[in-house]
Amino acid sequence: MDTVTRRKFLKLTTGAVAVGAAAPLLSIDQIAQAAIDRPLPAGTPILVVVTLYGGNDGLNTVVPYTDPIYYSSRPEISYKPDQVLPLDAELALNPAMKGMKALWDQKKVAIVRGVGYPNPDHSHFSSMAKWQTASPAKHINTGWLGRWIDSQSEDPMLAISLGSVLPPLLAGAKRSGSALPLGGLVIPKGSLATECLQLSKVSKKDSKLMAAAATSMRNLFSVSGNVQPVLKAPAPVAPDLPTTNGGNAGGDSNLAQQLDVVAKLIAAGSPTKVWSVSLGGFDTHANEANAQAALLGVVSDSLSRFMGQLKATTRSNDVTIMVYSEFGRRVVGNGSQGTDHGTSGPMFMIGNAVKGGFYGEQPSLKNLYKNDLAVTTDFRDVYATVIEKVLKSPIEPTLGKWSGRINFL
């Protein structure tokens, strides 16, 4: 390998990209193996999508801490004004989100308020499908980023989801994103590798699903050949998350670990423009306060740590993070110290290039629509902005004609 690349990797081992304090640093040889033949060109924007599964309670995330209706609606689970982290005279962050507050103070966080879609659906699965397919009116099988992948030239490294099961978000009609599990793996070698590659050819006789099975084998070799060595380092221990509350609506539980891998691979020059990570457990029908605060703490800590890791790379200005959940929760508490499924919620956009501040109208607590918050911003306004400004692509192949935009970039 050439010396420039080697020096580049040498730098990685000493920088903040490396791993948590408890984990040993990558060896140079291991990282050298990860030399990527075609690094993402410098300055290429990168999108990191963070999906919060279960329906995050927006009102206890961005808290209307001076609104008396907030306190009267959910006396058991509201945060007192002296607990929260004020952002302005009306809204404050959950006390667990100190890292996010610091990023806000640096003007790196845009909070888009009241985000949702027309005719809100209170089902986790339908609502998440609407968000991930960006098709609230009609059930379709492709994700919005999957359709974007379809519009790009074929590259299994283009969009990568952490974890072994691919979210619908990245499923296209022709191609899909790749999934990358955490931790080490054994890749076939020698004659087995040759025969596995033979198996990965698409046969004329293949059904659509068999062809997809063959393609997944082919992607295995291309993705793993490039990124596998980088992943060989033991990952930091997953944060100890509560499993007793809100645990029944999906998502992974090791966000910090997923973001560590993303940071390593971004630093290593992986030619990946879209990353997808997730955290589950937000379905807080009962005993919400502790469970949600612990989860928001994980989101806030891991994202601020991730931003810190990026600082040591040349790509810190290129990354935009998008955080969303399938719905917010009901304004009024349900009496089990929790909240039931609701409608709109805040989205977070984070990055050095992001113009920090509030966007979209805060839904009123006084004028509820069927006991739920109004949707003041359509998520497609956000997606359209992301497609144009981050992915530098025309929106039509992905979202059709859509005129709304939000000026956070």
């Binding site: 659906d121 209170h122 986790h124 699965f125 339908s126 099988n141 974890g163 072994s164 099961v165 691919l166 619908p168 499923a171 899909s176 790749s178 999934a179 990358l180 599990p181 793996l185 054994v186 890749i187 076939p188 004659s191 040759t194 025969e195 596995c196 033979q198 198996l199 050819k201 046969s203 004329k204 006789k205 293949d206 059904s207 659509k208 699903l209 068999m210 062809a211 997809a212 099975a213 063959a214 997944s216 084998m217 992607n219 295995l220 793993s224 645990g247 029944n248 609506a249 999906g250 998502g251 589950g280 379905d283 029908h285 009962a286 349900n334 009496g335 089990s336 929790g338 039931d340 499924h341």
Partner: protein, 432 residues
């Protein structure tokens, strides 16, 4: 594709967990109709299943406080019993002579998807599993009543927190959306009404016992789906299950898990009418006879557990005897599917979700590990000269593509590698 081979292959892989060595070849001689009735006929005593010893799952009592000396034996017992329970079920799937009972129990586990991750006690999960097995081919109304009195399900969906003063919507919504009617077949007002009916349940979390506290119940009439009445849990179950939407929904779910997760259910799918009396076995039999079984369009990806159990049957392995059970659950976890731990209340995904580059990797590692522990009798009995084509019968594969034949041909003299390629081939991962 030869239609007898296709239909026979589907009967084995979809209504069971795949053939043992020799079974598929015999079925081709017997003919489709004999094979179908064999697959659909649950024996009074299944010798294979009966050979699996029941695990000892006990009431572990109240969880000790953290950082006490009592917590250590408690945690060890919990982990041990959970593992015993998982191994017991996997063994039943792998060793049953007739696969239908376990396949249906597996289907219903994904339907009433409850996870031990929230329960944190094996006993309620074990009881739920026995309940699902009891009703797996019985009457759907009886099953629904039993499930409303199931401690694991109640706890999972916060039923024990739902009271007349403060009804919790979690169980009520999912009961309609995911268990009996399907999304969009009720209004938000119905969710509020049903949640009032489902108040007062109390769950003992460590043993799964459910009681009703009358003081916490809302005994007022509610308007639900156009009917105003005072409901109990039982009458609610009868009311929901009797609706036409319920027949539609259950047949849709059967279609999705047995016939196709990618193609829409045609209006002519015979399971719906066969479900008129809510007899599950009638719907399943209709499905096995449906013309869709012969239509090449309806391929299905095997879920990781289905793929693994199929491999165990072909390789004549007993899951609990694999070295080690921990390693086994580790592989299943990496593939994204461990029994008793569905990712959410909607159950596991289907179709292409199981076909990522990551699962391809893990499947190879997993299969390598399994093959090392098998004597590969079924494969070695086939002479190398005919191994490529005959191995399709060994695994119950309808047909190898020229692509896969070419890969297999280069390994005819290396049974381990041959088996690995066969188990990881698109034709084995996907049921044609």
């Amino acid at each position: 594709m030869n239609s007898q081979r296709l239909e026979t292959s589907r009967l084995f892989t979809r209504f069971g967990f795949g053939p043992r060595p020799g079974e598929y070849a015999q079925a081709l001689i017997d003919g489709v109709s004999t094979t179908r009735s064999k697959v659909l006929t649950v024996p009074t005593v299944d010798a294979g299943a009966a050979s699996v010893v029941k695990p000892e799952i006990t009431d572990l009592g109240k969880r000790p406080e953290p950082n006490t000396k009592e917590i250590v034996p408690f945690a060890i017992a919990m982990r041990f019993q959970t593992q015993q329970m998982i191994m017991w079920w996997l063994d039943r799937m792998a060793l049953s002579d007739n696969g239908l009972t376990e396949k249906m129990t597996w289907f219903w586990h994904g339907h009433w998807a409850t996870s031990i991750q929230k329960l944190n006690y094996p006993l309620p999960m074990y009881k739920q599993n026995e309940t699902l097995r009891t009703h797996c081919l019985g009457n759907f109304a009886s099953m629904t009543k039993a499930m409303l009195n199931d401690g694991a399900l109640q706890f999972w969906l916060d039923g024990q927190d739902s009271t007349v003063k403060a009804p919790n919507e979690n169980l009520g919504r999912e009961l309609m959306e995911l268990f009996t009617l399907g999304v969009g077949r009720y209004t938000e007002d119905d969710v509020k009404s049903i949640s009032r009916v489902l108040t007062g349940y109390q769950v003992n979390r460590n043993n799964g016992t459910v009681t009703i506290n009358q003081n916490r119940r809302d005994k007022n009439p509610v308007n639900l789906l156009g009917t105003t009445a005072v409901f109990t849990g039982d009458s609610l179950a009868d009311f929901l299950v009797a609706r036409d939407d319920s027949a539609k929904f259950v047949s849709e779910r059967l279609w999705y898990r047995f016939i196709s997760s990618t193609e829409d259910m045609p209006a002519t799918f015979s399971a719906k009418n066969a479900f008129a009396t809510r007899d599950i076995s009638a719907a399943v039999a209709a499905m096995a006879n449906d013309s869709a079984m012969r239509d090449e369009k309806y391929a299905m990806v095997k879920s990781p557990v289905e793929w693994f159990i199929g491999a165990c049957r072909a390789l004549e392995l007993t899951p609990s005897q694999l070295k080690t059970p921990n390693q086994l659950t580790n592989y299943l976890e990496k593939l994204g599917q461990v029994p008793f731990s569905p990712p959410n209340v909607g159950g596991w995904p289907a179709g292409e979700a199981w076909l990522s580059s990551a699962t391809a990797q893990y499947r190879i590692a997993f299969a390598t590990w399994l093959i090392k522990q098998s004597d590969l009798r079924g494969l070695k009995e086939i002479k190398p000269a005919s191994r490529v084509l005959k191995s399709a019968d060994w695994l119950g594969v309808a047909e190898w593509s020229p692509r896969t034949q070419s890969a297999l041909r280069s390994s005819v003299n290396d049974p381990s590698q041959f088996a690995l390629l066969a188990l990881c081939s698109p034709e084995y991962i996907v049921s044609a």
